[in-house]
Amino acid sequence: MWRDTLLVAGKDLRIEARSRVALSQVVPFGVVALVLFAFALGPDRTRMAAGAPGLFWLAVLFCAVLAVQRSVAVESVDGARDGLRLSGLDPAGLFLGKASAIAAQLIVLEVVLGVGVVLLYGARITTPWLIVASCLLGTLGLAATGTLYGALSAGLRVRETLLPFLLLPIAAPVLLAGTRIWQAGMAGGTAADGSQWLRLLVVFDAVYLALGVVVYGPIQESA
């Protein structure tokens, strides 16, 4: 299973390295979202700094949808998805591989957006480890659920509109938890507030990673 994970993740990341879709389209979209949020919330710096955690995670969530769409689209061309099924790859490995590739892209995105939030909204980070932990755990959760829902909607013609509708409500706990942890990690928060939410994220990640490993095979067969 791990060998297949590395194989698939490597393939997806190599494709990304060649096509640079995440770097040239998804990340800039995230930055554009941050700018638009600023227009929406007005020029008051204190208000924006207070809203920074939520806006960061909102932007990450929307970009995650795009990253998942891209990951699914890669397999839709030339019947590649059938090819993966025929190859006898371990479905769990396939799931983890695709989720890892999405996670890697999201981490890069979060670094860029994090810098953007600090610069554009004047947010100030007091407890960096909380911020980093929330990003890592949140990314895992988004990647896991995204890969699952991507597979569920893979064969559908209306995937582009259906996937966000299905994925975003499920990802709501990540948004809630991420925002709260960031608030704890910024001016005025304490570690205690944050750790409870971190535990929630751990549970969320564990549940969806375990589910994915188990059901990805049957989902593939029904696509």
Partner: protein
């Protein structure tokens, strides 16, 4: 009479009915392909030839009837069977952003094949030099077909399912393909070729099955005729294909 074969046949279908939504793809297929046999599936467009191959590969589940590949259900027991099957379909399963070499490497490694055989496979199909480094997006349809074939050659599975393999290939590629099929049959692999242009298949197959309306409607034996001048296989192969009555090769490599 040949002695009874103790191991299960390569492909076994009984009353196979397959659906896609409400549309019936197969309406009751009965077919048995013995190990080492080469069978031609012929029929008009839309007859169900592609669906038949996909059922054998385990991509399409049956809604009634039985299917067994090497004795196992290709959908429910896919673990034991997928890596022993190779399907060459209309789509080539290539990733547009990767090069030919990378695509083949990924496909072979994903299927558990040996990486060492990739070089030979590429050489045999003329995918060397600059072509090997070309991104898949820039390939022509015939070249994509050759890449998919190279994957098959590198994997050398026990059951070859070829869906209209000659379509889109030029004459030299077609003769390479025919020699490959002959080699596969000689090595004991079972081959099923679906084609609505059986003149290209020539004497590769020993049996031809006609599929129309989603089921088998006719069957005939093909005598091992001497090679047609148009599709002259390389001389080295003539000795193997000739002189074997009924064309059935019993030994397993």
């Amino acid at each position: 009479m040949a002695p009874p074969d103790p191991s299960p046949p390569a492909v076994f279908l009984r009353h196979a009915v397959a659906l896609s939504g409400r549309f019936p793809l197969l309406t009751g297929v009965d077919l048995t392909v013995a190990r080492g046999e080469t069978v031609l599936i012929e029929g008009p467009n839309g007859a169900g030839k592609t669906s038949l191959l996909r059922v054998c590969a385990g991509l399409v589940p049956l809604s009634s009837g039985r299917v067994a590949v090497f004795g196992l259900d290709p959908v429910r027991q896919s673990n034991g069977v997928r890596r022993r099957i190779g399907l060459l379909s209309h789509a080539s399963h290539l990733y547009d952003d990767l090069s030919v070499r990378e695509n083949i490497r990924f496909a072979v490694r994903a299927a558990g094949g040996e990486v060492a055989r990739i070089e030979d496979a590429c050489a045999r199909l003329g995918l060397t030099g600059r072509l090997a480094k070309t991104t898949a997006a820039k390939l022509s349809a015939g070249q994509r077909r050759r890449v998919a074939l190279a994957v098959l050659v590198a994997r050398w599975p026990e059951l070859w399912l070829l869906d209209e393999p000659h379509a889109g290939l030029d004459a030299s590629a077609r003769s390479v393909l025919n020699s490959l099929v002959a080699d596969a049959a000689a090595s004991g692999a079972s081959v099923v070729i679906a084609s609505h242009e059986p003149e290209f298949v020539g004497s590769l197959a020993t049996r031809a099955v006609t599929v129309t309306g989603g089921r088998v409607t006719a069957e005939r034996r093909i005598a091992a005729a001497p090679a047609e001048p148009r599709d002259q296989p390389p001389a080295a192969l003539v000795a193997r294909a000739d002189g074997v009555p009924g064309g059935r090769v019993a030994h397993v490599a």
